[in-house]
């Protein structure tokens, strides 16, 4: 785990665990606390000598990179009920007691609660794109502000909370001359999941703030590691494009759950963003729900997916991509070059041009490279290669793979018995599917 050094850390005087009282008036005192040491400590009013409650939870506000505490939750000694206070009533907070003023002020709504949503729960580490379980939270107390600094994720946090830290440290020191190190992540990189609760309520909208720039593959990793509610909340908060990218990356099991838990209209929008063969793969395992989603997809995308689903999965027809660049034999190189931006829209196989006649019968193939090198006024039929390796929709994937291995294609065109172009099978989709077979 990466050890993060932060400005706050430099401010902190480590080891000053028990003393919150200012010893030197001229310098602001900065004290470092572990959340687990604060929780459960007695809470009293300033004008009383006996505590009336125990500290139960601390609520934070995410308006700053390092959240500030804005609320307290205490458990009353009598009856065990919980009550809430705004942070500004706190006169002092130490691991041995918290002193507060009496107040009639209302309690602000916290964005997250440290115990309920963070301690022992899962959070997302945006820098490492992983989901971590939090063993403790590091807090910085300075000028009567309590700031959330890091989450502790290592063995040391576990040992300290179990009160084994000293014994284990002694042992490892004695045996191996080694001290178990802190391992923590700065709060800048932390995304709290399922935040809210009493008295806040769930605030899903805050989730994506820090996840906006993550690579889809990493987003997929994160989605796979979260529980159902957090996963779905995160997935629903993504834009349709990002959701489509992430959905392509997760394993089939997770595709199924994400899609079947989602609202069909939104799922249809997401699937439209994906290549039709990937969308068909997602829908194939879905059972009766699939039709419901296809019905909400836009016409062309829906019919492409429908065609793919009508073929067997392990055949070329089941994995083919209906979108490819098509041109007429009489088109000139110049006319194609002019239309390149339009032709390559929504196309995954962008460097091969398939030449078809008026009946869409496949006549030839040429690559972009050949296109660029030819004189502008040449018509395609003069430069295309007419010896085309094709497969039919019924060709088994294993046989298609053999063609790929033999000729080193990036894609193979699929034609039906009449020679009409149906689509192309991409190298990567054959690879994905054969990978599945090999696992079986």
């Amino acid at each position: 785990m990466e050890r993060s050094h932060t400005i706050i850390q430099n401010l902190v005087t480590r080891g000053a665990h028990n003393n919150g009282a200012p010893s030197d008036i001229t310098m602001p005192v900065v004290v470092f606390y572990n959340l687990s040491d604060l929780l459960g400590s007695p809470v009293r009013y300033e004008d009383e000598s006996l505590p009336f409650a125990h500290l139960y939870d601390i609520g934070g506000s995410t308006t700053t990179a390092y959240p500030l505490s804005i609320a307290l939750e205490v458990k009353l000694r009598k009856g065990g009920n919980h009550s809430f206070f705004p942070w500004n009533v706190v006169k002092s907070i130490t691991t041995s007691e918290t002193v507060i003023r009496r107040t009639t002020e209302s309690v602000p709504t916290a964005d997250f609660w440290a115990r309920r949503d963070v301690l022992d729960d899962q959070v997302v580490d945006v820098s490492g794109a992983q989901v971590l379980r939090v063993n403790d939270v590091h807090l910085i107390y300075s000028e009567n502000k309590l700031i959330f600094g890091h989450v502790e994720i290592g063995l040391r946090g576990i040992l300290r909370r179990l009160r084994f830290e000293r014994a284990v440290n002694f042992l490892t020191q004695w045996l191996f001359d080694y001290t178990i190190k802190d391992s923590f992540v700065t709060w800048r990189h932390i995304q709290v999941m399922s935040p809210g609760g009493v008295p806040g309520g769930v605030r899903v909208d805050k989730i994506t703030d820090r996840l906006a720039d993550i690579h889809p593959a990493e987003l997929a990793d994160i989605l796979e590691q979260l529980g159902v509610k957090d996963r779905q909340a995160l997935f629903n908060s993504l834009t349709v494009e990002t959701a489509a990218d992430a959905l392509e990356e997760v394993t089939p099991e997770f595709q199924r759950t994400l899609v079947s838990h989602g609202e069909p209209g939104r799922v249809a929008d997401i699937l439209e963003e994906m290549p039709s063969d990937e969308a068909a793969d997602v829908l194939r395992d879905l059972g009766p729900d699939a039709q419901n989603i296809i019905n909400r997809m836009e016409g062309e995308a829906a019919s492409e997916v429908q065609t793919l689903l009508s073929h067997k999965e392990e055949s070329a027809g089941g994995v083919m991509d209906a979108n490819c660049i098509e041109a007429q034999p009489t088109d000139t190189v110049a006319s194609i070059l002019d239309r390149i931006p339009k032709l390559t829209e929504n196309v995954e196989v962008y460097n091969l041009i398939y030449v078809v006649d008026a009946d869409r019968i496949l006549k030839g193939v040429l690559s972009l490279r050949e296109l660029f090198r030819a004189p502008p006024e040449t018509s395609l039929e003069n430069i295309m290669s007419k010896e085309i390796i094709t497969v039919t929709p019924e060709t088994r994937l294993k046989d298609a793979a053999r063609e790929f291995a033999k000729y080193g294609f990036q894609a193979v065109p699929v034609v039906n018995a009449a020679g009409i172009l149906q689509g192309v099978v991409r190298y990567d989709s054959v690879l994905t599917h054969l990978g599945d077979f090999m696992n079986d």
Binding site: D120, L132, I158, L226, E253, D440
Partner: protein, 413 residues
């Protein structure tokens, strides 16, 4: 026509969801389980068969909660316990789980050794080869392949059904024993009953079933099929238990032969029930032992890693999840080594210790499960209904008191 279509779609969905319940229930019939049922049949004949139906009901009750928690939260049981009850409790719970599971693995390798020797394979061959095969399968395989292998392994339990028939039981008496509880009510009988329930509902099962439901990613709206899976698993396991007891009752009890474990049972069946019956029985024991020895280490590693927040899962590589694979390897090989090195006399105190921890752990876990499944912030609208809660608490109290009784009786002996 429409009805047929409806059934087809039900079946298709069921096929997607089926697995965790049936596999968990079948692993439950591992070497330790088979030993208990065989001894019960040999000592008490047909008279304890009635215990199985209520046990089946309790099993469904407990396991249903697990798969519901898994489907609703997408988290394993140990993660939920950590989040709801904190680090301290989870840590000690995991230590207890580690030792009781290790005890079960030892029993399974001992079962493998016993059954292999019946087929003339030396234990010093069978156990190391078995352990390496299992280790290889998990470290190199993926969850999907492993689930398939396990699913096929379930089929081998049919051998008990056949050996039950081959033993030629007295069906009239068997039927009466299954319905009328007319056992003598002395402390030995009670201990046997407690043993049957205790071996059928074990703590690792809750962790394992919930984890595999999560791993499978079963969506909430298909939860109904997951319930079928749980019920089907419990029924299958009960039928297998029934036939094991039947086989031993029809032969060993009738001839007055007493046995101490499942290996004994297979050996003793040979002269009274014939070669095939005994061979099938030993074959069942062997596959059950392998099955148990494969799943328990996985379950242990998964539960502990989830509670402690370590990377886990058979789909990850060794370097990605070092804690997971270390735990898995330690439990598997420690189990194999203890089973090989320990004599029969040494195994007995180990088994007793494991049973005691089992018995203490189960009520605690069931209590946590009931608290979690009643918690609206975790389960949303899928909390236990009032009636379910009444039945579940009653069932849990019965199961808990039975397992505590088992601990007390074990310690007294």
């Amino acid at each position: 026509m429409d009805r047929l279509k409806k059934w087809k779609s039900h079946l298709a969905l069921f096929a997607l969801v089926v697995g965790p319940g049936i596999i968990t229930a079948n692993v439950d019939n591992d070497a330790g389980g088979i030993a208990t049922y065989s001894v019960a049949g040999a000592q008490y004949g047909y008279s304890l068969l009635w215990v199985l139906a209520p046990t089946c009901f309790l099993l469904v009750l407990v396991q249903e909660m697990c798969s519901r928690m898994g489907v609703v939260t997408g988290k394993g049981l140990s993660a939920l316990i950590r989040e709801r009850f904190g680090l301290g409790i989870s840590f000690y719970l995991m230590i207890a789980l580690f030792f009781t599971n290790l005890g079960n693995v030892v029993a399974d390798f001992a079962g493998l050794a016993a059954s292999a020797e019946i087929f003339g394979l030396h234990r010093w061959w069978a156990v190391p080869v078995g352990a390496f095969l299992l280790w290889h399968m998990v470290v190199k395989g993926s969850y999907r392949t492993i689930e398939r292998v396990f699913f096929v392994a379930c089929v081998f339990y049919v051998s008990y059904l056949i050996s039950g028939f081959l033993a030629g039981p007295d069906w009239h008496q068997a039927l009466r024993g299954s319905i009328v509880p007319n056992s003598k009510w002395d402390s030995a009988t009670l201990y046997m009953i407690v043993g049957i329930v205790g071996t059928t509902i074990a703590p690792w099962m809750q962790f394992y079933q919930q984890a595999s439901v999560v791993e499978k990613g079963i969506p909430l709206k298909h939860y109904r099929y997951s319930q079928w899976d749980t019920i089907a698993g419990a029924i299958v396991v009960t039928i297998v238990c029934y036939f094991i007891m039947l086989a031993c009752a029809a032969t060993l009890h009738k001839s007055g032969i007493s046995i101490a474990d499942a290996g004994d049972a297979a050996m003793a069946l040979k002269p009274v029930a014939g070669r095939y019956c005994a061979g099938l029985f030993a074959f069942g024991l062997m596959s059950a032992s392998l099955f148990g020895a494969a799943i328990l280490p996985i379950s242990t590693a998964t539960s502990i890693c989830e509670a402690m927040g370590w990377e886990r899962g058979v789909n990850r590589k060794f370097t990605e999840a070092p804690h997971y694979y270390s735990l898995y390897t330690v439990v598997l090989f420690a189990g194999a080594i203890v089973a090989l090195a320990a004599s029969k006399a040494m195994l007995i105190p180990i088994m007793l210790f494991s049973q005691v921890v089992n018995g203490i752990l189960l009520p605690v876990i069931i209590f946590f499960m009931l608290r979690i499944t009643s918690d609206k912030t975790i389960m949303g609208t899928h909390t236990n209904s009032r009636w379910f809660n009444i039945i579940a608490w009653a069932g849990a109290i019965i199961t808990a008191s039975i397992s505590i009784l088992m601990v007390v009786m074990t310690l007294m002996q």
